[in-house]
């Protein structure tokens, strides 16, 4: 090929190729980024019925603001009248028969702003030390922000010795400003059992 023809032969710009290769690499990362992004999105919008999984700090904060709100604002602003809500408890696991994971009461009629305590029972009939993770979910999902748990077995993993039977406490309240539309809420727990692995997992 003569030099003239080589000049005429059009070549791709390397800067374009670099950009075109970089873009999919970034998109690969974006695929992974979608997970925290969804979590942040659900957090902001309160979708998905997800609770804070590490709530002691936030729960206390919310309670603190809550009490200020209820005590000081009571006189000046609109008065918040507590109303009653029926709270149902359900439990589930992959092997419901095996683990015997049940709420002590399946239903409570509670008043907003007041603190309540209830129990869930869990049994480990196997011969192994088992570790249980509980995943809570509330429906309707938008009500999640109004339910404040000060003590919950879902805050940390539960380790059960062979044959052990535990009553796990749950202390919670519904915020004062829970809308009246919420007349009946369902709080569901699903437990996942894994064999207890090593001390590395003990907190």
């Amino acid at each position: 090929m003569s030099t003239l023809q080589q000049e005429q032969r059009r070549k791709p710009e390397s800067s374009l190729i670099i950009k075109l290769v970089l873009f999919p690499c970034l998109m690969f990362g974006f695929g992974f980024l979608l997970i925290p992004l969804y979590d942040v999105f659900c957090d902001i919008t309160g979708l998905n019925g997800k609770f804070e999984l590490s709530p002691p700090v936030t729960a206390n904060e919310t309670i603190a603001t809550d009490s200020i709100f209820s005590s000081s604002d009571d006189s000046s602003a609109k008065k918040i009248i507590p109303h009653n809500v029926i709270l149902q408890f359900t439990s589930a696991s992959d092997e419901q028969e095996k683990w015997k994971f049940y709420p002590a009461k399946t239903q409570l009629e509670i008043s907003t702003g007041q603190q309540y305590k209830t129990y869930f029972t869990l049994q480990n009939p196997t011969n192994d030390v088992m570790e249980f993770t509980s995943i809570p979910s509330i429906s309707p999902g938008l009500a999640a922000e109004y339910l404040i748990k000060t003590e919950c077995f879902c805050f940390q993993k539960q380790i059960l010795q062979p044959g052990e039977n535990v009553e796990m406490p749950l202390v919670f309240k519904l915020r004062n400003d829970t809308p009246k539309d919420y007349k009946k809420l369902t709080l569901a727990y699903r437990i996942y059992a894994t064999p207890y692995r090593s001390t590395a997992y003990v907190r």
């Binding site: 090929m1 023809q5 005429q8 032969r9 059009r10 070549k11 791709p12 710009e13 374009l16 190729i17 075109l20 290769v21 873009f23 999919p24 690499c25 970034l26 998109m27 690969f28 990362g29 974006f30 695929g31 992974f32 979608l34 997970i35 969804y38 919008t45 979708l47 998905n48 999984l53 993770t133 995943i135 999902g141 938008l142 699903r190 996942y192 059992a193 894994t194």
Partner: protein, 537 residues
Amino acid sequence: MTDHQTATTHEHSAAPATGIKRWLYTTNHKDIGSMYLIFSLVMLLIGGSMALLIRSELFQPGLQLMQPEFFNQMTTLHGIIMVFGAIMPAFVGMANWLIPMMVGAPDMALPRINNWSFWLLPFAFGMVLSTLFMEGGAPNFGWTFYAPLSTTYAPPSVTFFIFSVHIMGISSVMGAVNVIATIMNMRAPGMNYMKMPMFVWTWLITAFLLLAVMPVLAGVVTMMLMDIHFGTSFFDAAGGGDPVMFQHIFWFFGHPEVYIMILPAFGIVSHIIPTFARKPLFGYHSMVIATSSIAVLSFIVWAHHMFTVGMPLVGELFFMYSTMLIAVPTGVEVFNWVATMFRGSMTFETPMLFSIAFVVLFTIGGLSGLMLAIAPADFQYHDTYFVVAHFHYVLVPGALFSIIAGVYFWIPKWTGVMYNEGMGKFHFWLSFVGVNLTFFPMHFIGLAGMPRRIPDYALQFADFNMVASIGAFLFGLSQLIFVYNIIQCIRQRGCPASPQVWEGAEGLEWTVDSPAPYHTFQTPPDLDKLQYSNGHN
């Protein structure tokens, strides 16, 4: 034209190598295009045979031919092979053959990468097919491979599946980089963006979609791999993950993927309809804008595939309305094709027949898509045969018909020989009847409540299933006519084709000889001298 022809024929010296080395080492866009097209034809026949096995089992209620486990493997592999092995490589093959010729470039921008992206595919699909012979069987979780079916409950062969999806993804991304670089950097002088043919435009947009979403698919299978082998919990609720997250990430890839499989089809029929209507394409600018808007909108509608997972009302409404919005640009495209035909001097050669069938039947598929987009109604239709009918209408008489139309349209240019028109028409009518016989009854059995992906069904669905199975065999076997026609062209049995081939054909690819010389446009074509027109005003 003649000046230019003589210029191209004597300037190159590199003739194709002989034997297997020609195909292994080739960097020629025409050779690679041919390999892609033949590969996708083979995959079409393999995936089609699986479809026929599925339809045989569903010919009657009860389990006759296979066990549910094998049935699930067949539905999974059929989906994977047709999507990633047949439709996508066929479009890439056409892009290889046509884009350099259409924009007046001597070859693709990155010829060696081009060779590599093709040669990855036989290995990827060889690996997918080899899982059939593995202990535990082939993947059985459906082509959407929802976790935890594809993680906790998957057969061991899922790891091979993941690896082959990675390979396919790399191949597609490299192909897309190549297409974009070719279109952006190698156009003939004077061919600005708004002078490019529609096929080039639709492929440019498709290539950007590929770059954006194939890595997300690679990401999601990587997460699966890590969940299965490295103890992470992306999709495992026990470890704090979320199985619904899988569906969100998958469909973030999956919905643009749907448009990856249909936008090049829009490009193909936008060439064929003006040619046989002997009129310029109506509304070229609106066509470009509509195609781009479809591509942009495709990123914000993914969750309409998962209305039933338990989304909040706001989400349901958002995804419902944004999905319906896509009907607007799609309607523009359909309107433009019809308006192009309006008062045209139409003739009905095989490519035109397939294109008209594309317009009509794709519209039916689009309308059933609109029905599925209605969130409250979707709870009834979800996971039924109505969905199967919908996506087969957009993919078979949609994408596949456009590919068949394109092959009939350009094969005289590729081989230099006219295909057998009588057999082509016969192929069309058998396919047209077969495809409708197969998929139309599925609308009704779906609305009546027959679920997807089941090997056995309730008695009241028996008659329609029998009709669908008969139609499937009619459609499947009629493709053998297509194969025969192609082989005859490759063997040079038929009348030699003129450079322009079709009376109304416009565009640079019709200015070179038939068959197209091994090297074309070594010197850039002079658009003014050729009185270049891309088929629009």
